[in-house]
């Protein structure tokens, strides 16, 4: 890492849904090349924090900076910023009316303005990367959940983002399919991709992440290297990993 400017910075972020305060002063930094795992109980605000980074949710207080741009800046070009940020969802959200190939190449052609041939080449490459090149002509419904999720990862990768967000991407999958998706994510991490993942896969987080953020009641309750999962400092994290590992 040559520069110390974090690619993502959350600074005392506040977010409420109605009367419920979901994020209550959340701060953390993510450096380029880092893999950050956000863990915590359901309802601890971890998914919301992730969605705020891609501005799928707006925040009520504090500040978020992504790729050097403040998300509340009036001059923010959200479409431009989102080209730098890929996001993968728990429910895949592939476009059901398009083939795997079209799912991956559509944004390349229409957003990145690449030629059909160029888009197809890139799509082939990323599909190969996630092990789905042989299913390029299939429709999403013909694929298993794990395969769909790998295509969704490829669709984000095709845009060559600087940062990838993963929102509980294996939560809808059975253990076998979870494995194939985690494998893809692990190789991405090894390739140097900056990643922020919200996950319940504690073993995976311990193995791949270099920063663990444990969220509890809308706050960062404990944070540090993967070793905190083995030796938690707070009773809340101890109780949490006690159930998880």
């Amino acid at each position: 890492m040559t520069d110390n400017v974090p690619i993502v910075r959350l600074d005392r972020v506040q977010k409420s849904f109605g009367a419920a305060r979901v994020l209550d002063g959340v701060s953390f930094d993510v450096q380029r090349g880092e893999v950050v795992a956000i863990v915590g109980k359901s309802g601890s605000g971890k998914s919301t924090a992730l969605r705020c980074i891609d501005r799928l949710e707006t925040i009520d207080g504090g500040q978020i900076t992504v790729c050097g741009q403040s998300l509340d800046s009036p001059s923010l070009d959200l479409r431009r910023l989102r080209r730098e940020v890929g996001i993968v969802f728990q429910s895949y959200n592939l476009f059901p009316h398009l083939t795997v190939m079209q799912n991956v190449s559509l944004a390349l052609r229409k957003v990145r303005r690449k030629s059909a041939a160029e888009a197809a080449t890139i799509a082939q490459r990323v599909l190969h990367q996630v092990g789905m090149a042989d299913k390029a002509q299939a429709y999403p419904e013909q694929l298993s959940g794990g395969q769909q999720q790998r295509v969704a990862i490829a669709r984000s990768l095709a845009m060559e983002p600087q940062l990838m967000l993963f929102d509980e991407v294996t939560s809808a999958l059975d253990p076998e399919l979870t494995g194939e998706v985690l494998q893809v994510m692990e190789s991405l991490a090894r390739g140097g991709m900056t990643m922020i993942l919200v996950t319940h896969e504690m073993a995976f987080a311990a193995k791949v992440a270099n920063q663990i953020i444990f969220m509890h009641a809308g706050r960062v309750h404990e944070a540090g290297g993967p070793e905190i999962l083995a030796a938690p400092q707070t009773p809340e994290l101890r109780r949490f990993v006690g159930n998880g590992l």
Binding site: F89, N93, L94, F95, L106, A107, K110, P140, Q148
Partner: protein
Amino acid sequence: MNNEFNANHLMYLLHGAAWTLGLSAVGFVGGSLLGFVVALGRIAPSRWLRGSVMVYVQLVQGTPLLILMFLAYFGLSIAGLDVSPLVAAGLAMTVYASAYLGEIWRGSLQSVPRTQWEAAECLSFSASQRLFLIIVPQALRIATPPTVGFLVQIVKNTSLASVVGFIELARAGQVINNALFEPFLVFSIMAVLYFALCYPLSLWAHALETRLQVGRRVPLGT
């Protein structure tokens, strides 16, 4: 005209049927264009816009088409515009169809999961790209059967254009019956002709539905 139903009468009816088709086409094309705007207005982010479009839909759906015909014909002449029955009837059919098609399509657009908008947004598609590349193609499959079904309603409801002197199938039948006074025969022939216009539409709707089902892809496990 003679007192017996003959080939000339049949030709007159067929001619009326052609105008029925023409008026249906005007109503469908006009209603589709305006209806798409209505559908977009109904899902617009602006509350004010959504509200005004809903008032339009409620007003039109709460008014008999017969009254819309009168309003278009006499209303426009009072406003100083000299309109032909075709223009008045076409306008009334357009307004009528736009309210119903708009609501059918609003429902279809809204039946596409919100997460599809979100996924498209995260891939940096522009608002119109999200709509036309991602949402509309999915909504189309859902919208097609009720849309073609409504086309049958349009064809049948053109019969109300007879009140503004537009000579379509129903009006042509009345004219012939006034001359021959053979209501059962004349109206039976009219019924057959209406059925001949509408049944192919129903078949077409069914064929489209089957064809679109082949390409219909629903995500598993969501």
